[in-house]
Amino acid sequence: MPTRTVAVGSASGLHARPAKLFVEAAAAAPVKVTIRVGDRKPVPAKSMLGVLALGAKQGTEVILEADGDGAEEALNGLAALLARDLDASDA
């Protein structure tokens, strides 16, 4: 299954605003994407509660997985988003 491992780039971690932006992007993806930390259970990337409960901090490596048409593209986009510092952008 297509997979991406990426370190969270946002200064505050995957919380608050960065989590909101990530979840919104995952919900808009054409495939079902999951996210997990290490060997823990994967959660749907479009679940705000699940993503928050990962407790991922800045620098925490998270693993994204998806399958199906457009999975590679969706993962590339989401991985790039996670790697950015979403606290910094005004967009």
Binding site: G13, A19, P44, S47, A53, A88
Partner: protein, 549 residues
Amino acid sequence: MPEVVSLSGIGVCAGIAAGPLLRIADVPALPPVGVFDSSEAEIDRAFVALGEVVADLSRRADRATDATVAEVLRAEAMMADDEALRDAVREHVADGADAVHAVDRAFGAYREMFLDAGGYLAERVADLDDLRNRAVAVLLDLPMPGVPHPGYPFVLAARDLAPADTADLDPAYVKALVTEVGGPTSHTAILARALGLPAVVACPGVLGIADGTLVLVDGAAGRVDAGIDEAAAQAATRDAAQLAAAASTLTGPGQTSDGYGIKLLANVGSAKNVPAADEVHAEGVGLFRTELLFLDRTQEPGLDEQIAAYRDVFTAMSGRRVVIRTLDAGADKPLPFLNQEGEPNPALGVRGLRIARQRPEVLATQLAAIAEARSQTGADVWVMAPMVSTLAEATTFAAAVRDAGLPKAGVMIEVPAAALRAADLLQVVDFLSIGTNDLSQYTFAADRMCGALADLLDPWQPALLQLIGICGDAGRAVDKPVGVCGEAAADPGLAPVLVGLGVTSLSMSPRALPAVRAALAGVSEEECRRLARLAVAAPDAVEARKLVL
């Protein structure tokens, strides 16, 4: 006269207010698990309730005038509108739970995960509980729990406040906030400051006070007096109003009743804060935090960008003093570009000036930018370093400041070692500035973020005052300025004590400045010295307060 009970917590927004205490509507109790015919209908009921909660939050977000409030409400709505949560509800119904219990259990699972994660997430548990309570209330056909609207002024008490509660606060009626749990970074604290409401958090026992009991809230001291009589409540309200009125008419330089001058300065993070400082006639900036420019960054801001940011503040403060602090990163303010992951104990790690040991170029660039910005403007620029412990560090820093062409070098006193050696430090620097928050933390070996140790972090602790006194004496001996720029500087009751200890300037958030100016105008310098001796000699913080106030 009724017996007055004093409760203590962590004051997170200064100010005094009195009024009847009212609690947030009780959380609906769960009935026994009901019997139902159709799982599908039960799941539908639960989803409809969650949908109503989401719709309600979205409506409030649309109505909210404050952008911060709107954003937190939207984030809460996203948490309630969650596919994984709905899946969990479906599973619980399949296991025999009715809609109410399924919702309760689904939220409960996330609650545990948030608590286990600790830190930031543990403080978000209040958000989860709020969502759960709202959904449960809808299912039980009860009003959603929230802030009471009695139609008269009151003090609001709660276990903790959720964003959805605080969004409903009308400062015309809500005079103060007190919560049983929470910390300095909880929503209650953040929103109290945004609304300028006196607030005390982590105040055990507040929910044991009966609704309608008259209470007095001192948001600077972190104290709640319950059971005061009507006259005392009125007096406190009148005093607070008079103080505010007197303070706002009193302008000009800070001074004691006999004309002894104390510079009253503002803490700022960027030029955006300067109008608020001007509004209260601040004589300058006593703490220009430069972290803001660095905080959101994965790379160090360049020389030109730094020059522009510093120039903005220097220009706005033209002709006045601006004490700029070099980068204070680390511990509670880790910066991505410094790559400080992995320190076992960041508060005792490479932070503040210590970063220059590993990354001297960061400090060099910053000093160059400050020097260039100064040369383009007319501000009286002083530069100080955070987290200095030794004479050698102070000497090296002062040399770097002067090499950059800057006229005034100082150090912050945040480490007891530096306070004890204040006289030595003043041989090589031009001024000292005491950061009382960190000095408390390191003197009492008590984490600033730890609500359970709030009593140790009380700025009235005599040991802390004694260290401040050592610095004050050192300053008097060589006639060099000694400022305070921590929370303690914003406490009007403590201001005369600090002046008596030899402090020559107080720097605070602009909102606190008028009350401090008024407090100093009411005492002579001799009286300040007497109060300082009393406070330092007191056995503990509580006694120190009693002796002085």
